[in-house]
């Protein structure tokens, strides 16, 4: 009877990275993915790789992840089109500017360098930005990547190292057992057995957690995305705006411009999501407002994906509060692409070594149980204007 050291439910970026990192530690690993690795949120997102503007609770993970993004080629054999184009966050008014200044200080504590630009700087250095903006802050270290390539690349690398990555394998339920866990895949009578279990089931994460009595509310969201025909190089950094709203990037190399704002419709049970035309129209308007030269560019496609959203817009990352050797990481609320690589590294450490050097304070599931989470209470609420980004 095979008992894996570690089983992973969900082959998004978080799960595939967990598989790779656990395998690198020598653990025997099985990953079970209902569809295809990276077929859900991890494969269809905007491709923003930014630390700037994140809630402080996410910053330790974000900085660690940024390190991995820069080493992808060595790690998974392909750079997944990651380019450090910088991330420019625009201020609409002086109040936004105050937020940006405050965030600069917080980010500096985590070793992230952010440069503030006043209106004149902004116009001089980024002349294609619409003239109604008050200023901006630039994190040169941030960038963008191609989401379609990332999770599959991690899955491939994990497989090459000997992880058992199984696609088209929906997990119906899992239960604790004397040995660890028994995991039941649809259509198979014998359970898969593992000593430890990681739940990286994305928008379905709370559903999986509930099998073990870990009950949290996870909503669903579908960031509305559009992409244009390729155009000559125009936009350098990945662009965002204070308080959320429109975000725009130009795929380096290819030249298409990807923009998003607002949300479409997601049906988590039917595994279906679709963008909304009205939201697309608003996004086009906001995009022109931000980069007027986009007005006559053609949109060729719109899409969305199914993303889990927690009530405070922060993910759950950490051990189960009730079951030993069970770890959760889901509900990334629109910003788990950047975090994915580090989430996997940290989950592998937690599951195999029992601890991780990366601070997860404020991300524990216990924050929803009325159990005081010592650090979380000292952090600002996640829904302040700084951290509301819908999916970038």
């Amino acid at each position: 009877m095979t008992v894996f050291d570690l089983a992973i439910i969900g082959g998004g970026l978080a799960g595939c990275s967990t598989a790779l990192h656990a395998r690198k530690k020598g653990a025997s690993v099985i990953l079970l993915e209902r569809g295809r690795c990276g077929g859900q949120a991890s494969g269809v997102n905007y491709g923003g790789v930014r630390q700037q503007g994140r809630h402080p609770a996410e910053l330790p993970l974000a900085t660690r992840s940024r390190g991995i993004w820069g080493r992808l080629h060595a790690l998974v054999g392909c750079d997944c089109e990651f380019v450090a184009t910088g991330h420019l966050k625009l201020a609409r008014n002086d109040r936004d500017m105050v937020d940006l200044v405050a965030h600069q200080a917080v980010a500096a504590d985590h070793g992230i360098a952010i440069e503030l630009l006043d209106g004149a700087d902004l116009r001089r250095r980024f002349p294609y930005i619409g003239d109604r903006f008050y200023g901006a802050s630039l994190c040169a270290d941030d960038g963008q990547a191609n989401p379609r390539l990332a999770a599959p690349a991690f899955a491939r690398a994990a497989r090459q190292l000997g992880a058992d990555v199984r696609e088209e394998c929906p997990v119906e339920r899992a239960v604790p057992s004397p040995l660890g866990f028994e995991i039941y895949v649809t259509g198979q009578d014998t359970p898969i057995r593992a000593h430890r279990l990681v739940n990286t089931a994305g928008a379905w994460g709370a559903n999986v957690a509930r099998w073990f009595g870990d009950s949290v509310h996870e909503d669903v969201m579908a960031p509305n995305m559009c992409v244009t025909e390729p155009i000559a190089p125009l936009i350098g950094p990945n662009l965002g705006i204070c308080g959320g709203g429109i975000y725009i990037r130009q795929a380096s190399g290819h030249g298409s411009v990807i923009f998003g704002s607002g949300v479409g419709i997601a049906d988590r049970d039917a595994l279906r999501a679709r963008p909304l035309a009205a939201v697309t129209m608003d996004a086009a308007k906001a995009a022109i407002d931000m980069v007027p030269a986009l007005a006559n560019v053609l949109v060729v496609r719109s899409w969305t994906g199914i993303e889990g959203r927690m009530p405070d817009n922060l993910p759950v990352v950490g051990p189960s509060p009730t079951i030993a050797n069970l770890y959760h990481a889901f509900g990334f609320s629109g910003h788990g692409f950047q975090l994915g690589p580090a989430v996997g590294a940290v989950l592998a450490e937690l599951a195999i070594d029992g601890r991780s050097p990366t601070c997860l304070a404020g991300l524990s599931m216990t924050r929803f149980a009325g159990v005081p989470d010592p650090v979380a209470t000292t952090l600002p609420p996640a829904n302040c204007s700084q951290h509301k980004e819908e999916g970038e």
Binding site: L149, P152, E229, A277, A287, I288, A295, V299, R301, S302
Partner: protein, 463 residues
Amino acid sequence: MTAEPPIVVVGAGPAGVSAARTLVDAGHRPILVDEGMFPGGQVFRRPPSPLQQSDKKLYGFDARRARRLHDNFSALLPSIIYHAETMVWAVEPGLLHLARGDKAICQPWKRLILATGAMDRIVPTKGWTAPGVVTLGAAQIALKAQASIIGKSVIFLGSGPLLYLVAYQYARAGARVVAVLEAGRPFRRFSDLPAIASGGATFAGGVFYIAWLKAHGVPIKTGIEPLEILHGSDGRTSGLRYRRKGQGRETILSCDALAIGYGLKSETQLADLLGVDFHFDPQQRQWLPTTDLDGRSCVDGVYLAGDGVSVRGNQIAAIAGELAALALLSDMDGSEAPQAGALRREIRRARRFRKALDSVFAFPTDQLKTLPDEALICRCEGLTAGAVRQVVELSGESDINRVKAFSRLGMGRCQGRVCGPAAAELIAAAASTDILHVGRLRGQAPLKPIALATLAGGRDDGI
């Protein structure tokens, strides 16, 4: 806008116009939306008035039907709300999203008849993106709507009845038709003949065009395999290298333009966005929206007619349009029109003819198996056949949407409308799997590229 729940017909070709007429006859005032400048659709396209020519010259055998459609339409016009040059760019339950000029319009709908027609189906040949290579449809548009021809000496390459018709039209318009090169081997099997003859007028038309071309010294070669479209130092098309299937000897023909078409591909994105079921039609080798004989889809209030549901030509399209409208009316008030039975019989008969045509002019899947690696398959993204084969091999994937995600296949301006059918065959061959497993590219809004400014522009609510 009328007070009644709006019935919207999309497409003013034979199917759409006949559906609209049927609705008007029943006392409704449908909204008819069409991208074209004038009604008529692809087959009965009309030039702007300064370029007007006689119907006989424009439409040949179909001149009477063309005139009838145009006359019908004129009579219909006061009773419908007609919107020309209006593109549907998205559809949602109860809401159509239109674009006209630089304006976006939201049009509510309660019942919808999709008569969106078909477009040319392309099989890439090495060199097919050279200037001077156009689709059969585009060659026809040049002739009908712009009163011009695509070149002085033209090769017609591909498969299907349209090949002979357009070659004939070009010869009549004064072009030198270098040759008609047919990939299929029509009329080789006697067993096909009775079924083909059941095509009636369509069949007679086809036979006439072939006979006419032969009588005028135009070489017609069947069973050919194109190898490469040649170009001169200026990059423009200069000729074609080809051989007879299964034979070694290659032939080169010179030309200054080439029209290509391998039958038609149904335009199905609207049905797809609405969630209509699809099935793979092995005869037409494409995924088609599933409807009952009358054109009822599985989505409440959504009906399909014409080439957009199955390529059967303009006569059947008109019948299907009427049937779909009758189905819609019957679902509204439970009525059963007396003529429905006869119309259904016509459709059934057409199926037999269509089947024969499809087996005679079969999609040349072999040509895609042997397409050289360096030939472009997805021209929007500059993707070669070799690149697609490599992705299939390295990823082990044969699902076209997965291959798309890894290679950018079908992610460009055409969204796979041009490359999709050929790419599916290529993937199936590369993965040694059945085309059914390759699946189909999912439709996504906008249906056709649309400027940000248009999306951002005015937002009228309904027409």
